[in-house]
């Protein structure tokens, strides 16, 4: 019986080994390119999507605060906030951890006329993202306004309630958020409940008001508020100035009254 033997020559083996090494090298290069070029792009897009989600969630919080301040009854509303982004599949990486704080006495509203000055320290809520690739953004609830901040710039996403009557009288509704002790900071990754409860409201009448000063880190956002069409077309005559720690609005013909309502809201962000 004839036996056919296939003899593998040593030269063939050398070529096969080199081809295998080259194929492995190619796979490593392709993986490296995906990791260094495409993965950061995917993560950045995911972080941008998350920021849009947070924007929507904060608009819901602002809406809830407005409802609580309007109905003025002992009620509570919870809104869920998503902190951080999850890992991307297969390649991993991209997990971020965000922060949410209730900051006591972080903003000061000062109203004055020719003889007296009234000062109100207000608590604020601040969300801070810690993105890896997309630009970091902060959402701030300050005195009833919803502010978006990135880098040093800020814009107004929601304004506090105000109205002007008889071209001279101004009604302004401000929200003061106070945190439950030990429940004012949440940081990490996950979905957290933001619990808001109406406490009470106090009204003040300041006759012949002349100045409204706001101590804030978000001068541009407050300038947008006082420079808004509603305000400008109200008949009030005023001038907006940036100060070292906020903004100052000086009313030129102070003939009317300021009806100021401070709504006290208790909030809790940490679980338990």
């Amino acid at each position: 019986m004839l036996k056919i033997r296939k003899i593998i020559k040593p030269d063939d083996a050398v070529v096969k080994i080199i081809v295998i090494i080259l194929v492995i090298g190619l796979i490593i290069i392709v993986t490296g390119i995906i990791q260094s070029v495409y993965v950061p792009q995917w993560i950045e897009q995911k972080e941008a999507d998350h920021m849009n989600e947070v924007s929507y969630q904060f608009s819901q919080i602002k809406q809830s605060l407005d409802i609580l301040s309007v109905i003025e009854q002992k009620n509570a509303i919870s809104i869920y906030l998503t902190l951080g982004t999850s890992d991307i599949p297969i390649f991993g990486g991209g997990r971020t951890y965000d922060y949410l704080n209730i900051l006591p006495e972080n903003c000061v509203l000062e109203v004055s006329n020719d003889t007296d000055s009234y000062s109100f320290s207000l608590g604020t809520v601040k969300y801070s993202s810690k993105n890896s690739y997309f630009i970091d953004q902060s959402y701030i609830l300050e005195a009833g306004a919803l502010i978006l901040s990135q880098s040093k710039e800020s814009i107004l996403n929601g304004k506090p309630f105000f109205s002007v009557s008889d071209f001279t009288n101004l009604s302004l509704s401000i929200i003061n958020i106070s945190g439950l002790e030990g429940k004012t900071i949440a940081g990490g990754y996950g979905t957290y409940s933001f619990y808001m409860e109406y406490l009470n409201s106090n009204s003040y009448i300041i006759e012949k008001f002349k100045f409204i000063n706001i101590t804030t880190n978000y001068q541009n956002a407050w300038s947008i508020f006082f420079d808004s069409s509603n305000f400008r077309n109200s008949g009030l005559s005023y001038e907006i100035k940036n100060t070292s720690d906020g903004i100052s609005v000086e009313f030129n013909n102070s003939l009317g009254n300021l009806f100021l309502k401070i709504v006290e809201i208790s909030a809790q962000i940490a679980p338990g």
Binding site: I29, F134, Q150
Partner: protein, 143 residues
């Protein structure tokens, strides 16, 4: 003499195979290494509004990545198209930082926008991508 020839032939064959293998893979390596993905479309939020009183179209940066001043805007009003750079219609204060950033507004003065169909597109020239495209009838509902 014959054995020597065989050895030379085998060596030559191996060298040729190696050269072909390395050459082919070099081409593949170079092809892979030179694949640079085009920059992705930047994530930016805009709000477009129309000031019919003053015949202005306003586009405001509402968060996200900063855009260069050479970002291209195309506005078509009643089939008349105008293309320009963002820097052409940003105010000087906004242009000082060299970018189109959060809260900065582009105010485009139009001749007559009332009851005309308006199309707006924002094109990032670096990624060659359309960031925003919008069409509406001024004075009527968005379509």
């Amino acid at each position: 003499m014959e054995r020597t020839n065989i050895t030379v032939t085998e060596t030559f064959r191996t060298v040729v195979l190696l050269v072909i293998s390395i050459a082919l893979f070099s081409v593949i390596y170079l092809s892979v290494l030179t694949i640079y993905p085009s920059p992705t479309s930047p994530s930016v939020n805009f709000i477009c509004s129309v000031d019919e009183k003053n015949n202005n179209i306003i586009i405001e940066h509402r968060g996200g990545k900063k855009l260069d001043l050479d970002t291209e805007i195309s506005i078509t009003i009643a089939d008349v198209n105008d293309k320009f750079s963002v820097g052409d219609y940003l105010d000087n204060d906004s242009k000082n930082n060299g970018v189109w950033n959060l809260g900065e507004k582009l105010v485009y003065p139009a001749d007559n926008i009332t009851n005309n169909r308006i199309s707006i597109s924002v094109v990032d020239i670096h990624s060659k991508s359309v960031i925003m495209r919008l069409g509406f009838q001024a004075g009527e509902q968005q379509i």
